[in-house]
Symmetry: C2
Subunit: 344 residues, 2 copies
């Protein structure tokens, strides 16, 4: 990635991220009931995070001729919903850390965490309904339809992943993984922001399905990179417990690759470890899986797949955004396909 492209991505993420976060703060202002709801609802959003999804939405709107202000409510709603997903995912995965601090349910227990997640999801409806005054009732409803579709995809993807753990699925292939993250990650992280931005910028004047392939490749590269950082990243910068995915028995691409390459005896051991409850796994189990992943080059394999996906995203970009003229926002969107693998 050129220095110029890297600073473009950094600048745009900072500019649009700050805009979105300021709007998010308007909706999570402390009020009663504080100690069991609104103070907690503002916790994850206040822990930082770069608001990538919001920036994608705003830049896609601007690339299509809209203003940042037009897209701001939708971008903030997406961040609120993202935080709702994070809280429920952390409960469902038994995760211990998020953005450098203990997860919501570790701090406040599962009952309150589930309710706070629900609150953030409902709060996300507010800015989407506020769209009405600037964008009019028809476009407001179209955005809500896109949102219902996106949330459905996310929940279906989450259900697939939860079923793999429940059933201790061991016969998974790369395809299964990609289908799961298409739904669980890509729809809300990349596809939806591109679509809704285009919807707003073009005033419902453009066809939205052309963003699915670009969003899928970009989002999949993003997710695999995220899984790699979980395994080999810097804990301080990553903000979650390292190897947390292995502790949680997640079927990442590296685990799926290992399942395919392992010897029969190793496969049995892997099945035993993945079949345990999280509390049943011990440090030795996690260490053994990490060692086997290295022995079979699973990490290098996942890196290659992520590179291939990022390349495909770059290729698809031209088709997805061919109808819009060159602009800083368009260059930013294109640069993300390279940036996604270089972020730490």
């Amino acid at each position: 990635m050129t220095t110029e492209a890297a600073s473009l991505v950094r600048d745009v993420l900072q500019e649009y991220g700050s805009l979105a976060q300021a709007t998010v703060r308007k909706y999570i202002r402390p009020r009663e009931p504080r100690s069991a709801l609104y103070e907690l609802a503002s916790d994850y959003p206040q822990r930082g995070g770069r608001a990538l999804r919001a920036s994608l939405c705003i830049s896609s709107a601007r690339a299509h001729g809209g203003s940042a202000a037009d897209a701001l409510n939708s971008a903030a709603a997406l961040e609120l919903l993202h935080n709702a997903f994070l809280i429920h995912d952390d409960v469902e995965d038994g995760s211990e850390e998020r953005r450098g601090a203990p997860t919501m349910h570790v701090l406040h227990g599962v009952p309150i965490a589930v309710n706070v997640g629900d609150a953030l999801a409902v709060l996300s409806l507010r800015p989407l309904l506020e769209n009405r005054s600037d964008l009019g009732p028809r476009l407001t409803l179209r955005i809500l339809e896109e949102t219902a579709r996106m949330a459905t995809e996310s929940i279906e993807g989450q259900a697939m992943e939860l079923a793999w753990r429940r059933d201790n699925a061991l016969d998974l292939r790369e395809d299964d993984y990609l289908q799961m993250i298409l739904k669980k990650t890509c729809w809300y992280t990349t596809i939806y922001p591109c679509r809704v931005g285009a919807l707003i910028g073009s005033r419902d004047g453009t066809e939205l399905d052309r963003f699915v392939r670009f969003g899928f490749f970009l989002g999949a590269a993003f997710q695999i990179q995220d899984d790699l950082l979980n395994l080999v990243g810097d804990h301080g910068r990553y903000g979650k417990e390292l190897s947390g995915d292995i502790w949680e028995g997640k079927r990442t691409l590296m685990v799926i690759r290992l399942l395919q390459l392992a010897s029969p005896a190793e496969r049995i051991e892997l099945g035993r470890i993945l079949g345990l409850d999280r509390a049943g796994r011990v440090g030795r189990d996690v260490k053994w899986i990490r060692e086997r992943m290295h022995a079979y080059d699973c990490i290098a394999f996942a890196r290659r797949v992520a590179h291939g996906l990022a390349g495909a995203a770059l290729h698809e970009f031209d088709g997805a955004y061919e109808t819009v003229p060159d602009s800083r926002d368009k260059r930013f969107l294109r640069a993300l396909a390279t940036w996604v693998l270089e972020r730490a």
Copy 2:
């Protein structure tokens, strides 16, 4: 309650309930992923239940000159959201039974139960967005605004109740209880159905705040009767474990009354029991609380409060529905204020 009024309530509940349930079934048709999502999403709705909230919504729409068809999507959405609330509430309360069968998280674990609840909440957006074709974009958005308000009230009420348990609150008064159930129960059970029905029937032509008092009194009488049935009802008909509220440490009106009347020594014992985790409570604890409730006439007290509230609902009814002419639907709505205490 006269025989005539009783059969009116029974007939209308059956008629509108069947209509709403048929619409609900359209939205929860089995599809992939089945075994971890959509088969489970249809579980609670298929367990029965009389769809009281849907019938309230339809009758309020018809009383205001609308048709059942006009209100059907909104009524079905409310039932879907109700089932989403039930699944998350059961997780949050650690409840074991619902409608005569084990709760979702007892059957499938907390992670899948939380996700299925999320799915039902998102599914409820579908019929609300479908409203557009029959009711137009403006009325569709007004209903969505009402829905966001209602869901916010419900979640705030749930947060209040969860905080009482977290903090082992012992200094609660009748007022606190009524404020909590105004938010947690009344908004979505009675106030919202009356408001949205009127909104639809009058085509956004009537003032909605006049339904708050009627809905509050009716919903509060309903909730207290529900708590009484939990304590002294017939398990087969009630469908939840008896005394489940005591096992869960819930601050019902009977518990709050007991806290006020108990001797200092009894209050200490009550505080000890209420402060335990659910798993820490034993049968002896629950039995002791039940005995003390009987000794201090807490059940008779709660019955009196419920009667007072039902009477107030009857009084408020005339103001709430004074603008609409006599009709079967109006008579049904009025009869609910008496029926709510007589249902088993």
